[in-house]
């Protein structure tokens, strides 16, 4: 899983885009689904409280204005007519006119001290007794009997402010207040008096237990808000009920919409992310593809054509510069290699002739000892030269990449044994101990090129023998999980630390007493290392310093099964 991100820029981009694109939406979705309902209900309740407040204020204002009207009428001079039993019906007419102005279910009437109704807006009430006369306690006031509100004001004679004539009364049916309970489609308002269990307006079957003067209740289907009324309607409560499924319909629909929308958004985000991550990575992929092709075909003269002007375009540009330079240096190097190989080839022909003729002379019987020495020298030097030319040719071949590799399963023990046997006579000649040890080697077969392997190992062994005067040379075989290690250990002259880096350079040899006696082209190690690289192996040298011996380590990478 981790590699999935680690190895692909496109995947990382994809994940980033997905996160950036979908996470905010997801958070929003969770918010709307989980949190916002309580918020909306809260808001709804506060709106309802406001609505109730407004209704209650409207009702208050309405009743107050009626109460003022009663007081106003009570102060009119015409009220003096009641002293003449309103014989001219002036008071009654006035009250009737007022009643008609209001267009409500109400009645004005005048009651004298003996509770007789002397004047009224309703003729039927005339000359009757008013039942509620003992409720008059103040100059003005109100009281409620069942669903009727009575407002009264004391009437005084206009000519004598101390002379009380009776009371002017407004009988007001509370049903009139229904006009304030606006019956919306999804809301229902009504009034309720818990003392008399009377309702004004319909409660739609709701029964609410009143707990305080102002509260909100969230029942199964409804949101109900109530408030105690004040002043004249002090025992009454005003209720405002809203059906949830209609009030929250918009919210529920929105939630549903969001839910249906989310898969599409997710798909869209995925689609865009995929498209964009690929779009961004595409030039890089193209670049990789082209460079891969170049590496495989070794055609460094190619040119990357990137139309973009962004960072990738700049990368391609500098890559082109690099290619250009590489192409030139490779051209130079190729020229050098071909020169060397041609020249070496040309040299080999005359050299072979020299060797052939000097060998012929050596077998010629009439040569004196001195002459034989000279001819042997010629032959030796020529052999040395030929060897050097072979080395040079090999290096040139490697550099030109023209080495034929033939990788096959090889028995590692047999291979090493062959090389060991081949060099045993040389060691015997010098009287050196020569040993072949196998230690911790669980391998039998390896994939490698037989010829190259042998060439390297022989070179290492002969080097060890060459630079060891007396003592011993050991060939040791071991392996780790990934590598096969072939160690050639001698206790010869060793290598000074500061000379170590020079060892693998062509034509370089360490100057010392012993080496000057030895013939050597200085190509051996360098060639071995290059060959080793060809078969995915490496050669390293370890030495504790001059005269402490040397260990050459030939490590061969094991090919996975």
């Amino acid at each position: 899983m981790f590699n999935f991100f680690k190895k692909s820029l496109a995947n990382r981009l994809l994940i980033s885009f997905l996160t950036i694109g979908f996470l905010p939406f997801l958070i929003f979705l969770v918010y709307t689904l989980v949190l916002s309902e309580t918020q909306i209900v809260k808001k709804l309740i506060s709106d309802q409280h406001h609505e109730v407040e407004v209704m209650s204020k409207l009702i208050d204002t309405h009743l107050n204005s009626l109460s003022k009207e009663v007081s106003f009428l009570a102060r009119l001079e015409v009220m003096d007519d009641v002293l003449a039993q309103d014989l001219d019906k002036r008071v009654s007419r006035l009250l009737k006119q007022k009643k008609d102005d209001y267009e409500l279910d109400l009645d004005f009437f005048f009651v004298d001290k003996d509770a007789n109704i002397l004047a009224s807006s309703n003729i039927e009430l005339l000359e009757k007794k008013f039942f509620g006369a003992n409720s008059f306690k103040f100059q003005k006031g109100s009281f409620i009997e069942a669903d009727e509100l009575f407002m009264y004001a004391k009437v005084y004679a206009s000519f004598d402010s101390k002379k009380s004539l009776g009371y002017l009364i407004l009988k007001y049916s509370l049903e009139n207040l229904k006009v304030y309970f606006e019956h919306k489609k999804d809301a229902n308002a009504y009034m309720y008096n818990p003392k008399s269990s009377l309702y004004i307006g319909s409660n739609n079957g709701l029964s609410i237990v009143i707990k305080s003067t102002k509260d909100s209740i969230n029942i199964e289907k409804d949101l109900v808000v109530y408030k105690k009324m004040n002043n004249m309607l002090k025992d009454w409560y005003i209720f405002y009920a809203v059906e949830k499924h209609t009030a929250l319909a918009f919210f529920y629909n929105f939630n549903l919409f969001m839910l249906y929308l989310s898969p599409f958004i997710l798909l869209l985000v995925i689609f865009i992310s995929l498209k964009f991550s690929r779009y961004i990575v595409k030039p890089i992929k193209d670049l990789t593809l082209i460079t891969d092709e170049i590496v495989h075909s070794k055609d460094y003269s190619r040119y990357l054509d990137m139309a973009s002007e962004d960072e990738v375009g700049k990368l391609a540009e500098s890559f082109n510069t690099l290619l250009n330079t590489t192409d030139k240096s490779i051209d130079a190097s190729e020229a050098k290699s071909s020169f060397i190989s041609n020249m070496s080839h040309e040299l080999k022909t005359p050299l072979n002739a020299i060797i052939g003729f000097s060998q012929y002379l050596i077998t010629y019987e009439k040569l004196s000892d001195e002459q034989l020495d000279i001819v042997s020298n010629i032959e030796n030097s020529s052999q040395y030269l030929l060897e050097m030319i072979h080395g040079i040719l090999d290096i040139a071949k490697i550099e030109a990449g023209k080495v034929d590799i033939n990788i096959q399963k090889q028995n590692i023990l047999e291979l090493c044994q062959e090389c060991f046997s081949m060099l045993e006579p040389l060691a015997d000649d010098k009287g050196l101990g020569f040993e072949f040890m196998v230690k911790d080697c669980s391998l039998e077969l390896i994939d490698t090129d037989e010829k190259i392997f042998k060439q390297i190992l022989i070179n290492l062994l002969s080097n060890a023998i060459k630079y060891t005067q007396n003592g011993e040379v050991k060939l040791m075989l071991s392996n780790t999980r990934n590598e096969l290690l072939v160690k050639v250990i001698d206790n010869g002259i060793g290598i000074p630390k500061d000379e170590m880096p020079k060892l693998f350079k062509e034509f370089s040899r360490i100057d010392n007493k012993l080496s000057s006696k030895q013939k050597g082209t200085g190509l051996g190690l360098s060639l071995s290392k290059k060959l080793a690289n060809v078969i995915e192996a490496d050669i390293s040298l370890e030495s504790d310093g001059l005269s402490y011996g040397t260990t050459a380590i030939f490590s061969l990478k094991l090919r996975g099964e």
Binding site: E77, D80, D81, L83, A84, Q85, D86, L87, D88, R90, A157, S158, F159, D160
Partner: protein
């Protein structure tokens, strides 16, 4: 010309309508000056009793005659009088629409005083002063 005027005056007086200033029984006889003072609200109490003058509507003939015979003031003068009084906080007398209700008022209210046609009076009412549209008499 003078003769015709006298004749007319005689004819009219022979058909003269008689009126009475009345009150409930608690009040005594009053002089025209007292009546004038009461109806102009210059006199409000008699024997520490509150007096309530009751007018008939301004469209009434009876009121016209009453104002002419007893107040001796034209409509115009009365109007300006009450405007002045208004600013002093004195309101004109209570007005009843009909003689009937004026009488009912007088019967019900102590110290109430009004004027009606003489034929409308009954025993429960006390006549304080009589006058006719011709000339007033004692």
């Amino acid at each position: 010309m003078k003769l015709i005027g006298l004749f007319l005056a005689f004819v009219l007086s022979s058909f003269a309508q008689e009126y009475a200033v009345v009150s409930n029984s608690l009040l005594d006889k009053l002089s025209p000056l007292q009546i004038k003072a009461i109806f102009l609200k210059k006199l409000t109490h008699i024997n520490s009793k509150h007096i309530v003058p009751v007018n008939l509507p301004s469209s009434s003939n009876i009121r016209d005659n009453f104002e002419k015979e007893l107040l001796h003031m034209s409509k115009k003068r009365l109007k300006s009088y009450w405007i002045k009084k208004h600013y002093l906080g004195v309101r004109p007398p209570v007005t009843m629409k009909s003689q009937k209700s004026a009488l009912a008022f007088v019967k019900n209210v102590q110290g109430a005083i009004t004027y009606v046609k003489i034929e409308n009076i009954d025993e429960s009412i006390k006549v304080l002063y009589k006058f006719s549209d011709g000339k007033s008499e004692k």
